[in-house]
């Protein structure tokens, strides 16, 4: 049998920990929406009460063959393969920004289908491979 003191400390710790776990879960569930770093086009479509004056972030893939550069303006479509949103942007883009790659755009919604970004971040995926392999994969696709 364990001594009484040890039991007392163990139960104290269990109570303390369960209170903190519940606290953390409550905080996280309260923050839920705010913890998302960006919204997908589907989120925006579903969301009923969008504040069009608030800065938000939209994330997804740059849809292939939609990237157009005209004068200073860059236009492309962000897609999550279910819904799409058109984006217009003026400024510098990160190196990894390309068609078919992940992107997070920061700015304001004009309406549910059109977004004016003032900052573009490239989202890198979890795939790492040497360039030769990538070329081989491309040839396979062809």
């Amino acid at each position: 049998m364990l001594p009484k003191k040890v039991k007392k400390r163990a139960s104290l710790l269990v109570v303390f920990l369960s209170i903190s776990v519940i606290g953390v879960i409550l905080i996280l569930s309260a923050l839920n929406k705010n913890l998302l770093y960006f919204n997908s086009p589907t989120d925006i479509k579903i969301n009923q009460d969008i504040d069009f004056n608030k800065r938000i972030r939209v994330g997804g893939m740059v849809k292939k063959n939609t990237l157009k550069i005209k004068d200073q303006e860059i236009r492309f479509i962000i897609t999550d393969f279910k819904n799409e949103i058109k984006v217009s942007f003026k400024g510098t883009i990160p190196n990894l920004f390309a068609e078919g790659k992940g992107v997070v755009a920061e700015g304001k919604l004009q309406d549910k289908k059109f977004f004016i970004a003032d900052r573009i971040l490239a989202k890198h995926d979890e795939n790492y491979m040497p360039p030769e392999l990538k070329n081989m994969m491309k040839e396979d696709v062809k």
Partner: protein, 236 residues
């Protein structure tokens, strides 16, 4: 176990282990660095900035693993009052803090060329910063509260609370949309990192783990000496 620690044999064992690690460390370091910097290919997309990952990922792993160790030992220590566990947690904490900071800094250096920003407040990066704060709290309490019994109690509780943060860090990239990419190496299933890049990553991890072991043994030795000195004073 307690006898083993109190026994002066511990110094001999620390000495032997340190010598053993020293004898293989530089060879492994050279091998790992040459794999990471020269022999491994650049990434198809990010080019040479992928090499930052070979430090970033192991550092983050070590930061997380050390805190998990500290937290579990603290819990056992809180309940059963085992003195030498305090010495071990105290010795691990600065190492964990250092590697957590390395992970954050290298990540930020990597973020600039690839994402286009040094810092964002997404779930992964924020929870990792909170981990660093937990380390700072843990260490600060050990330093600030001179009464050792109380310091141990409070820091143990802090470590136990900090343990909740560990799964949050691990799964933040899956639960919430983050700018940080999800894990490439999965416990189950195939990893999405090419084997030519996995080799330097695992080698660097081994080297950094050995480095941690070296620092830990040195710190642990000084902690034991400190305790012994204190006990000697008591009989004066």
């Amino acid at each position: 176990m307690f006898n083993f620690i109190n026994n002066s044999n511990i110094f001999i064992w620390i000495e032997r282990l340190t010598n053993f690690i020293n004898s293989i460390f530089f060879v492994l370091l050279l091998a790992a660095l040459s794999f990471a910097l020269i022999l491994s290919p650049p990434d198809y997309l990010q080019g040479d900035s992928v090499r930052i990952m070979y430090v970033h990922v192991p550092a983050a792993w070590i930061g997380l693993a050390s805190f998990t160790c500290i937290a579990f030992m603290s819990i056992v220590n809180f309940i059963f009052k085992i003195k030498y566990l305090t010495l071990i947690t105290k010795s691990i904490a600065p190492i964990g803090l250092m590697f957590t900071c390395i992970a954050i800094v290298t990540g930020s250096i990597w973020g600039q060329p690839t994402w286009g920003t040094f810092w964002v407040w997404d779930a992964r990066i924020t929870s990792m910063s909170i981990l660093a704060l937990f380390y700072v709290m843990f260490i600060a309490i050990q330093k600030l509260i001179s009464e050792e019994d109380r310091a141990n109690k409070i820091s143990s509780l802090i470590a136990a609370v900090g343990l909740i943060n560990i799964p949050i860090i691990k799964y933040s990239v899956e639960w919430w949309s983050t700018l940080h990419q999800p894990a490439s190496i999965k416990i189950s299933g195939s990893s999405t990192i090419h084997s030519s890049m996995l080799t330097p990553l695992l080698l660097m991890f081994l080297v950094l783990i050995l480095y941690c072991a070296l620092i830990f043994l040195m710190k642990y030795k000084t902690e034991i000496i400190r305790i012994k000195k204190k006990n000697l004073k008591r009989y004066d």
